[in-house]
Symmetry: C2
Subunit: 193 residues, 2 copies
């Protein structure tokens, strides 16, 4: 049945969803939650059309400036650099950081031809040289690629007389920041070096 | 952010998707697969509007009659009763059944006030009394409720001089038919009693 096959195929585009799960989801929606199917359809279309990127920090935003960048009460001396909007959201949920953020376009991966330029290093340098930033906290993941990213950016910042720090190693090595518990992140933030 | 929160909330309506997974899915779609978000949005809307139920067997169908009910080459003497469209699809994929199907509206659950009437027993009796059906195979799950369903329907069929059989117990007890491997189902179908 075309519409059903199309739906199962489309559900498989979700991360972590294979053929079996997609089938189960499709049958569930059709049999028990058709309203849910329509709600989800509208939410997806709405998100795809309404959510862009903040022009200052590049996180997801419906407005030109995200609520954090638009908040003038935060500490402009601190700029925290993360790999993804999800990492930024995780850090913000800890409630222990009052500065601003800058979201990279991922992390460097020399084997894939992704260097400092591809992840937005130039925009970061421009942002960090606004005359107010005194410390750039490199909160990239503690994976090999995340460390390489922090190293490359740290060097670039230093060549422009900008001080950079790294989250303390309280964050378990090898883990993605997004999935680390909030207490660990908060602690690592205080102990940044 | 409203559109993002709305999307995460909507994704949680999918079975097996909690807050963390929904977040991960939303971020993935927004960051890496916006086209996927739109494809899925359209597939959901299309399925919700185009997929109804076959008027004869009640499985999902875009047409008044599903392809199986519309196929006159199948064996009209055999009618296989299942709990859900997913179970019907699993049986059909075994390739070992050439009769027709009848899809119940779930299974009896006395504690929830769901009896024979609520799952469509009357429509099944009418369907089985078309003058051609000689055997009704009760392929409900081998759970307590599935067994109760088979028992109730078997009695009702017998009172109308209709013969009913049950899938052989090759199907693992306590399992949902949809998730049983095809070989086991095929074997159980041959050994029906
Ligand atoms: Zn921003
Ligand atoms: Zn049908």
């Amino acid at each position: 049945m075309a519409a059903l096959e199309t739906l199962i195929e489309a559900l498989r585009r979700l991360p972590g969803v294979g053929q079996k799960s997609a089938q189960r989801m499709a049958y569930h929606l059709l049999q028990h939650d058709r309203e849910g199917a329509q709600v989800l359809s509208r939410a997806l279309a709405g998100a795809a059309s309404d959510i862009g990127h903040c022009e200052r920090c590049h996180t997801f935003s419906e407005a030109a400036l995200c609520p954090i960048c638009a908040d003038e009460q935060r500490d402009a001396r601190l700029l925290c650099v993360v790999e993804t909007p999800a990492d930024q959201a995780a850090l913000e949920r800890t409630g222990s950081f009052r500065g601003y953020y800058f979201v990279l376009l991922g992390r460097v991966s020399p084997l894939d031809g992704i260097g400092a330029r591809q992840i937005g290093a130039e925009q970061l340098l421009a942002r960090a040289q606004d005359g107010r930033v005194e410390e750039v906290i490199l909160a990239t993941s503690f994976t090999a690629e995340g460390e390489a990213t922090a190293h490359v950016l740290g060097e670039a910042l230093r060549s422009r007389q900008l001080r950079s720090t790294r989250l303390a190693r309280g964050v378990p090595v090898g883990s993605e920041l997004e999935y680390v518990d909030l207490g660990t992140i908060a602690h690592a933030l205080v102990d940044r070096r």
